[in-house]
């Protein structure tokens, strides 16, 4: 498969789908190589989360293809995609709020000293509440917990839907640090963001969506602030 040969971890083309008879996302395409971050930008309601749900197998594609390391993901359930290395941190309800913080992190395996320890050290707010029900966390703290859960998983592809939403600025900066480390380790990132500064901080590529379609795509260095701002204006 050519995609894999080019170092592309993840690629999707012609992605179309939605809810019931309504098509929300139309013909969206993109590709991410190992060690690269792609940010999906766009105003509220343009289909960014729907795109993520289509890519992760929570919604069925009406048409299009999604490939992970060259392998088509058609018809695979979310847990099967996870086994192939696709890690997903959703925007809404990012944690199991009936389980403790610790249980959220150890649901599929024990705490890993190498992977969890630096994350918990960086986010003491979670470390201090390991035994507490995650339902007692604030919205931003839940996003943080979801982020820690996802980035500690070994999968080669990380899909994050608005990871910085509601998170304190200092923690957003730490998140960006961990994402840069993940890139350095060769992982591929697809991040939906509203926080432009955060996106600028981590993105190698940018996809801008409007009304379910890609209206601008390219390398982050090439797209200047004004063009981007023009697209994101309400």
């Amino acid at each position: 498969m050519t995609g894999a040969a080019n170092g592309e971890v993840f690629s999707f083309a012609g992605v179309t789908g939605g809810y019931g008879a309504t098509t929300v996302v139309r013909g969206v395409h993109g590709a991410i190589a190992a060690g690269e971050a792609c940010c999906v930008l766009g105003r509220n309601g343009v289909g960014k989360t729907t795109l993520m749900r289509l890519l992760t197998g929570h919604l069925l594609l009406r048409s299009g293809t999604v490939r992970l390391a060259g392998q088509p993901l058609d018809g695979l359930a979310p847990d099967e995609r996870h086994r192939l290395g696709l890690v997903y941190c959703p925007q809404d309800r990012p944690v199991f709020d009936n389980l403790s913080v610790r249980d959220n992190l150890t649901l599929m395996g024990p705490i890993d000293a190498g992977r969890h320890a630096p994350l918990l050290a960086a986010f003491p707010v979670l470390e201090a509440r390991m035994a507490q029900s995650s339902g007692t966390l604030s919205g931003g703290e839940r996003k943080l917990l979801s982020f820690v859960r996802g980035i500690a998983e070994p999968g080669r592809l990380l899909l994050l839907d608005e990871p910085s939403e509601g998170v304190q600025q200092e923690n957003v900066e730490r998140m960006a640090g961990f994402l840069r480390e993940a890139k350095a380790a060769g992982r591929a990132l697809l991040v939906v963001e509203q926080n432009l500064a955060f996106a600028r901080d981590i993105a190698d590529r940018v996809i801008v969506m409007d009304r379910g379609e890609v209206v601008l795509a390219g390398s982050a260095a090439e797209i200047d602030e004004d063009t981007l701002a023009a697209h994101l204006q309400v």
Binding site: T56, G57, H58, A77, P78, D79, R81, H82, R83, V87, Y88, P90, R93, P94, V95, F96, D97, N98, L99, D103, L107, M108, R149, E153
Partner: protein, 284 residues
Amino acid sequence: MDPILTTNILNVVYEVSTLAVVVLGLAVVFGLLNVMNLAHGEFVMIGAYCAFFVQTQDLPFLAAVPLALLVCGFIGLVVERILVRPLYARPFDTLLATWGLSMLLREAVEAIYGRGFRSVATPLTGSVDVLGAGYPAYRLLLTAVSIALVAGLVWWFVQSATGRRIRAVVNNPELAGSVGIPVTALARNTFVFGCCLAALAGVMLAPLLPVNPTLGLDFILKSFFVLVVGGLGSLVGLISGAGVIGGVESVVSAVSDRTWGYSTVLVIAILFLWLRPNGLFPRT
């Protein structure tokens, strides 16, 4: 203590604990799959017939346990695959489908064994003296086994990795798949497990019941009442629901007769549906 009072208390405990075993299977399946298995009572019935079959083959009573688990586990596996899975997220359709299944299973058993009542010999005869009251030994054993079974399952559910994953799926099915929980397999196993639990209850209760094809109807109705009263939220709700339904029925039956016992339970269930439809411990 007054022996009659002692006997009545033991009857209530017996009624509540055995009912809790039947409802537990139904509730776990509903919690995880959102499927109200109206054929749950028929799995109890098939379990009871397994005990009868074992008796006709001159095998020891306990041989009915693996037989019932195999038969009901297998039926559960097939039913989950061809009936329940295609209808996930369509609660009304699963109600109809499992109701149809319950009729099918009743008719199938009737075709083999006929409508008549069969009796299964009690494997443990005699009575035990409890605080001056003579109480049937088998009932006592059954109460102890039921309490141990429910307590063991609750303990397992609370502390095991699989129990945590089941709670995770109940809380947030979408996220559960994405963190790698094999949701489909877990749902299948849970459904089969619920059927097996009903089968086990059927074997245990067989010596105390007139074994006949319609035996399951009584159980599904009572189980449903338990969930109406207790709410679908938690094990606490399940046990308190079983306490209310099983307790009220056996107390009213003791001071009056079974018809009044049953009517009172029905009235309580109606009142709950009317005034407190989410039960004592609603799902949050």
